[in-house]
Amino acid sequence: MAEPKTKYDRQLRIWGELGQSALENASICLLNCGPTGSEALKNLVLGGIGSITIVDGSKVEIGDLGNNFMVDAKSVGQSKAKTVCGFLQEINDAVKANFVEENPDTLISTDPSFFSQFTLVIATQLVEDSMVKLDRICREANVMLVLARSYGLTGFVRICVKEHTAIESKPDHSLDDLRLNNPWPELKRYVESIDLNVEEPAAHKHIPYVVILVKVAEEWAQTHSSNLPSTREEKNEFKDLVKSKMASTDEDNYKEAIVAAFKVFAPRGISQEIQDIIHDSCAEVGSNSSDFWVMVAALKEFISNEGGGEPPLEGSMPDMISSTEHYINLQKIYHSKAEADFLSMEQRVKSILVKVGQDPSSIPKSTIKSFCKNARKLKVCRYQTIEDEFRNPVATELHKYLADEDYSSAIGFYILLRAVDRFAATYKKFPGQFDGSTDDDASQLKTIALSLLSEMGCDGYVLKEELYSEMCRFGAAEIHVVAAFIGGVASQEVIKLITKQFVPMLGTFIFNGIDHKSQSLKL
């Protein structure tokens, strides 16, 4: 057995030890192990997911050999669940791999309590009726659910959880937390101790931009009745003022300061998104509140008290041109402010926990610390039930998509993916599933799609005509590469849900394998 740390090195660099242990403690249930489900699970097994349970009642057919890598010629006629399970076990023996030979639709109807043992269920290739039921079961049992379906050159992925909260949302681009627009006393004191007019050239060109900008902002405020630059002219003037402090044109630290000047002009305080979170009704905490919302309640108090409108300081600095000494000193100043903010947050968390009757030490220090560090990047994602979406889709969005040419394929496939299930319920086959009847099937599919639109209150809208025949051409085929794409997307979303890192997708992702202009529909 290889040192697991080495084997997982390339992913530990993304989600760290905590993310990895969340994966290793998760148990996943897969419904239907065709290529979509098998591929989704394969990606998770490689990454060291704790356990998998495959539910599929079918036997391996010859047709499966052409679209599923997890079955082979030897396994024709045998249980598909068992065969796929065997292959997955082979690629990572650290994973506990189980299978249940049963039809998922039957299981959903007859044994809903089966699902409560899992962290998350990946349900693939289910028809509408089963999806609605399973969503209800999983929400009730507090089990996360990811739906995925491949259908010809289209398909979808949809997350079904009541609420997902992420502390480590890890955005690609986020503004660093330097507080150049609102320096605290210790930072100001350090800046004051440094002379911008130092004679020695080497010293002058190693003053970090944090110091330069706080100093120039101070100077600006003195001549502008304590305000910072706000108009375009003022901002340019400010940059000129920074420039005027250069001793020679090759001083890269001053060039960095001019580029970073916008950090002085940035608005103080918190973003609208964080405003919304602290004013969310869940932030009114009680004995059942999750750790996340307890910490949000503490954050709300912090911001309006010792924070003076600001969240706890993140405490880290980007690299910048500087002497080692200045840089390390500044780092210490940022770090100790972050530490002080953390300590007051910790006190607030504890007293809130006491107030609502929870154990005051129930939230680990490390979690509170991470929450403070990421307080500006918190994410809350909510997903309405499949039933509600199907019965009452968000009308404004629906009309927008139907009217917008850019969304015509995505909304078309969204409607048609539902229409094919109604077609199948009536005709006991999917449109175009068998050769020879595709033209008739297309016109029947169109009738069903138009009546679906009418039920959704969208009379008068039509779908692109060529989509009906295209959907019949697909004939419910599960094409391997489409399944690999959709299964891949599903597994990526599962990782985000389980590690609680990054931000899971919102809405329904409609795959478009024709021109790759896939879209997420927020209905």
Partner: protein, 453 residues
């Protein structure tokens, strides 16, 4: 799936699902789509695909192509399997560590997908003859370096020939599909040389590599990476005098790590770890199975579309970002019509009397070329070589002859020139296409017409 009545008389076929795309007519397809069993069988029997790289993307690509109706695949990779590959390169097992990736990957896919033939090449891409690459209908790239992409791009674009009206000759287009991933993000693109932009046309899409100024490393280190790079780039050489640093040698890595720790302590810098040391020194790009699967699937689907026209083609660049929610975008990048790699070449008009040596001088003065010490090739025929001396001497007598004669008295044709060019004040070796048109030679090339009239 709901209980559906499958008529028992329908015979089962391995191509059950794929047949829906390849045997049925569609109206969201590319021009030139002729559905039917012949299309399916031709793809199976006659199309040859080369997969470059048998790593995270390459393993997926081989599986995806084998399950997309292709039966004749080759794979080339110079690497051997490492433990850190196992979190995503699903064709490899712990007991395979140390074996050539291409060989194991080919074997595993052939074991599972009956009928598929995969020829592995445990080799550097540069070590293959150019002709090797011309045998394939499409080249699928699963690479992690810009250099390797540039190399294959140069080879594929080298096959391209242009018609007189500057449109590419269809039969000389060697399509490439390319994928790349980093963490939760990735891209897939289709390159039809002469039609869509090649790597060089859009070289700006590759982010510049982070390099620290030496004075920062030596004088003002501020973070852990600075300490590591100091140990790696400066101290190693100072202590080991000429012994090459090998990032795959654990002893070497440990030495760099220890030195970096010492330096970090000296300056009071936190954060040096062994893992970070490896990351910085080897420039490790984090990689996960799901993203590789997504990107490879997109590439394989495009490969199938290019050969079959069974659907629209990606035009021409897909971005996938799964970090913050899920975001995909298709961008139509434009060709650089002056591209020296995929363009028709730089047009030079000459009198029929211009000698080869005069022509070589002209290359030096040409504002778009500034090419000195040029060697010249016309198709397979070498006209002049600067080195080695024995070959130079062999070709030297031709210098005083007219280029027109040396090129077989054609009115116009493409020649390749190699030499050193000045780019951003630095000398670089450079290879370029030049289209030579001879003024006043119309009468000769129009001979056929003249006779006909």
């Amino acid at each position: 799936m709901a209980d559906l009545d499958v008529p028992p008389q329908v015979p089962q076929s391995k191509t059950r699902d794929l047949d829906k795309l390849l045997l049925r007519h569609g109206n969201l397809v590319d021009p030139g789509f002729f559905p039917g069993p012949d299309l399916r069988d031709d793809i199976r029997d006659y199309v040859r695909i080369l997969v470059v790289g048998a790593g995270g993307l390459g393993c997926e690509l081989l599986k995806d192509l084998a399950l997309s109706g292709f039966r004749n695949l080759d794979v080339i990779d110079m690497d051997r399997i490492e433990v850190t590959n196992l979190n995503r390169q699903f064709l490899f097992r712990l007991e395979d560590v140390g074996k050539p990736k291409a060989e194991v990957a080919a074997k595993r896919v052939m074991e599972r997908v009956s009928g598929v033939e995969i020829v592995p090449h445990f080799s550097r891409i540069e070590d293959k003859e150019i002709e090797f690459y011309s045998d394939f209908n499409i080249i699928a790239l699963g690479l992690d370096s810009i250099e390797a992409r540039k190399y294959i791009n140069g080879v594929a674009c080298g096959f391209l020939e242009y018609n007189e009206d500057d449109t590419p000759k269809r039969e000389t287009i060697k399509p490439m599909v390319d994928g790349g991933t980093e963490g939760f993000k990735g891209h897939a693109r289709v390159i039809l040389p002469g039609v869509t932009p090649c790597f060089e046309c859009t070289i700006y899409l590759f982010p510049p590599q982070v390099k620290f100024p030496l004075c920062t490393l030596a004088e003002t280190p501020r973070n852990a990476a600075h300490c590591i790079e100091y140990a790696h780039l400066i101290q190693w050489e100072a202590v080991h005098h000429g012994k090459t640093f090998d990032p795959d040698e654990p002893e070497h890595m440990k030495w760099v790590y220890d030195e970096a720790i010492r330096r970090a302590e000296l300056f009071g810098i936190p954060g040096v770890t062994y893992s970070l040391t490896q990351g910085v020194v080897k420039n490790i790009i984090p990689a996960i199975a799901s993203t590789n699967a997504i990107i490879s699937a997109a590439c394989a689907l495009e490969t199938l579309k290019i050969v079959s026209a069974c659907s629209k083609t990606l035009v021409n660049y897909l971005t996938y970002n799964g970090g913050e929610g899920l975001y995909t975008e298709v961008t139509k990048f434009e060709r650089d019509t002056d591209c020296l790699v995929c363009g028709p070449g730089i047009l030079i008009e000459l009198d029929t009397s211009v000698t080869l040596s005069k022509f070589i001088e002209m290359l030096e003065d040409h504002p778009k070329l500034l090419l000195s010490k040029a060697s010249v090739k016309h198709g397979e025929n070498t006209l002049y070589m600067q080195a080695p001396p024995v070959l130079e001497e062999f070709h030297r007598p031709k210098l005083s002859k007219p280029l027109y004669d040396l090129m077989g008295r054609v009115q116009k044709d493409t020649i390749h020139v190699f030499g050193t060019a000045l780019k951003n004040n630095e000398k670089e070796s450079c290879s370029t296409k030049v289209r030579v048109v001879f003024k006043g030679a119309d009468g000769v090339t129009d001979m056929d017409t003249a006779i006909g009239a």
